[in-house]
């Protein structure tokens, strides 16, 4: 019998150390240290062979380029590997819980992706004849119907490309409505102190002066302060509900009444619609305009698959000012029109070329239809239940910012439990990375000191929430045990250690400069 006497060992080495280890080249467990694509393999080669152009260069006169163009010279596998490696260093909702409060990082169902890739949706062009795309127009009409029904509002503008773009659309419609009735004196937009930064930015961009509304000690709009600030100079208020503290504005109907009594409009920031979809119709609360982030409530990808979509629902008073184009039911069926009709005669203009982002419309509609009205209601219920579960399981080791009563879809903690420990909110968040969890939103909302805003969404199971809770409880225990070094140096195990955000902001390097290209071209 012959046998291999020097076979492959199958057991770990019994004397292998477990202490700190650094690789020789900066690589890490099958991941190489990644250079910029410009620096990876040089610009001096090209990944493809192009034929010599048969155009006479003389035709270009003095426009012929004299220097090397300086593009990275990678072959297809090199370029592919570069981006896949970068993606492996990134975090994604497809990898794990992504608890960024105020962002609603929920699972993007694969069914949405399959349907968005149907050639009838994916391969159409905005300039092809409308008679060739009746299906796309019908999908837009049905999506609009769902959005109007879920919000209790009579009209929707589908063209805005994101939440902040939707805010701009809503505030422009409000300005147009004031101007149409000859009310030019209104120069102020009121915004609560806890608002998303985009709210005051939007109002200022449209030309309004922004004034803050105070907040009560339990995290809601201060009605007395609102009433004192409302007057003939106020064009609109912008309020998020649930607000950025994860709390329902329980005086919302009174807020709307006071606003309308002062002749102003009520813009609702719909970023947190996920918490109330199927349960509350903003139209019933007195809202005049609200954007809906399809990438939050209706599961389209955040920053994936092209531009986003932030449709804006409008009240009767604002509907006539909706931006072009409009989807209308005509004698030949649905049609997109730019021609002013009776019901849309006073449009303030348009928000984008063409009709909006079809890929997002398909994904959102797929999500609505696969969940149904009852399923969407459960989305809101589960999102709120999950956040309250986290709040309940963490409140004895961390300090909830608003301990009294339940929260909505996000659990907000402050840093009073870290006081005197030598550990900051930033340190704690970075230590979560070492434990395998992406940090929560930090230092927002600004009204809560050292804020930690956790939004689990309805995506997560009880088991996953428990793993997350155990990691945070273990870290909280380490804080109390005085294990400060674990936090001050965190993250210890990420591809890069703590980055110097201050230096990056004070001395930003915003572009790669091809010194090497210039040098080599001269040779």
């Amino acid at each position: 019998m012959s046998m291999n006497s020097v076979g492959r060992p199958t057991a770990p080495n019994s004397d292998a150390g477990t202490g700190a280890f650094a690789s020789l080249t900066g690589g890490r467990g099958l991941l190489q240290d990644e250079a910029l694509i410009f620096e990876r393999d040089g610009w001096f080669k090209t990944g493809v062979d192009l034929p010599e152009p048969d155009l006479p260069a003389d035709d270009l006169g003095d426009l012929v380029r004299q220097e090397a163009i300086g593009l990275p010279g990678l072959s297809e596998p090199e370029a592919m590997r570069h981006y896949v490696r970068l993606s492996q260093k990134n975090h994604a909702i497809d990898l794990a819980l992504y608890p960024l409060g105020s962002c609603t990082m929920k699972h993007n169902p694969r069914l949405n992706e399959k349907l968005a890739r149907l050639p009838g949706f994916a391969d159409i062009h905005p300039l092809q004849p409308q008679s060739t795309v009746p299906g796309a127009l019908e999908l837009m009409d049905r999506l609009a119907h769902w959005l109007k029904t879920l919000t209790g509002m009579p009209a929707v503008a589908l063209t805005p490309k994101a939440g902040a773009h939707g805010e701009l659309c809503g505030i422009l419609a409000i300005r147009a409505a004031h101007e149409a009735r000859g009310d030019a004196a209104r120069k102020v937009v009121l915004v609560p102190t806890s608002a998303h930064g985009t709210n005051p930015a939007t109002a200022a961009f449209v030309g309004y002066t922004v004034r803050e509304i105070a907040q009560t000690s339990d995290g809601r709009v201060d009605l007395a302060d609102l009433e004192a600030r409302l007057g003939p100079d106020v064009a609109a208020i912008m309020v998020t509900n649930p607000n950025t503290c994860g709390l329902f504005e329980r005086d919302i109907v009174e807020i709307a009444r006071l606003t309308h009594a002062a002749g102003a409009f009520f813009y609702c920031d719909g970023a947190n619609f996920n918490a109330i979809v199927g349960r509350v119709r903003p139209g019933d609360l007195g809202v005049d305009a609200m954007h809906i982030n399809l990438h939050k409530t209706f599961s389209t990808p955040h920053g994936g698959g092209g531009p986003g979509a932030g449709p804006v629902v409008l009240s009767e008073a604002l509907a006539p000012f909706a931006p072009a184009p409009w989807l209308v039911h005509g004698p030949d069926g649905l049609a997109l029109t730019e021609h002013e009709t009776a019901e849309a005669g006073r449009a303030f203009g348009r928000m984008s070329a063409f009709h909006g982002q079809m890929g997002m419309f398909v994904r959102a509609y797929a999500y609505m239809r696969s969940h149904g009205a009852d399923g969407l209601r459960q989305v809101a219920e589960d999102a709120v239940l999950n956040a309250n579960y986290l709040k309940a399981r963490l409140s004895d080791v961390m300090s909830p910012a608003f301990p009294d009563g339940p929260c909505m879809h996000e659990a907000l903690f402050d840093d009073s439990w870290l006081e005197g420990t030598g550990v900051t909110t930033l340190d704690f968040a970075k230590a979560m990375i070492d434990e395998g969890f992406h940090p929560m939103t930090m230092y927002f909302p600004l009204v809560v000191h050292g804020a930690m805003l956790i939004e689990p969404t309805e995506t997560e199971s009880r088991q996953e929430l428990d793993r997350f809770v155990e990691a945070l409880r273990a870290l909280a225990g380490a804080v109390r045990a005085g294990d400060v070094e674990r936090f001050r140096g965190a993250p210890h195990l990420a591809p890069l250690r703590r980055l110097d955000e201050t230096l990056a902001a004070r001395k930003p390097r915003l572009r790669w400069r091809p010194e090497a290209v210039q040098t080599l071209a001269a040779e």
């Binding site: 930064g197 230092y443 600004l446 955000e501 201050t502 902001a505 004070r506």
Partner: protein, 121 residues
């Protein structure tokens, strides 16, 4: 030196108020990375936003603690915003304002009152 509840400080000399943000404000903001000061010659009203300070955490309005005309701004903050953290109540000043209503200064808090106010936060 006088103080506001919004954490600005004022020092008056010959009818001109030097204005900045307090050590408490600088500490709360964290590392300051950018300061936008008003244009010289601009007229500001007490309580209105007249400068912006941006830190790694947030961008915040700085409110004019007094009314008047901006006569000078701290040019050094452009290249060295970190001065606001290192020396908030002296070298990190934002602007000098020629007072239009000197009585406003008297109504602001003195150091003892400001310290007592910080104790309530």
């Amino acid at each position: 030196m006088r103080f506001t509840k919004d954490h600005e400080w004022v020092v008056v000399e010959d009818g001109v108020a030097t204005v900045g943000i307090t050590a408490y404000a600088a500490e709360q903001l964290g590392d300051v990375v950018f300061v936008e000061t008003p244009d010289v010659g601009k007229t500001v009203a007490q309580g209105e936003g007249f400068a912006v300070v941006e830190s790694v955490k947030a961008a915040s309005d700085v409110y004019a603690p007094v009314s008047g005309e901006v006569v000078e701004t701290n040019a050094g903050l452009g290249d060295s915003p970190e001065t606001v953290n290192a020396d908030p109540e002296q070298g990190g000043w934002f602007a000098r304002v020629r007072l239009s209503d000197p009585a406003q200064v008297e109504a602001l808090m003195d150091r003892a009152a400001y310290d007592a106010y910080l104790g309530t936060l």
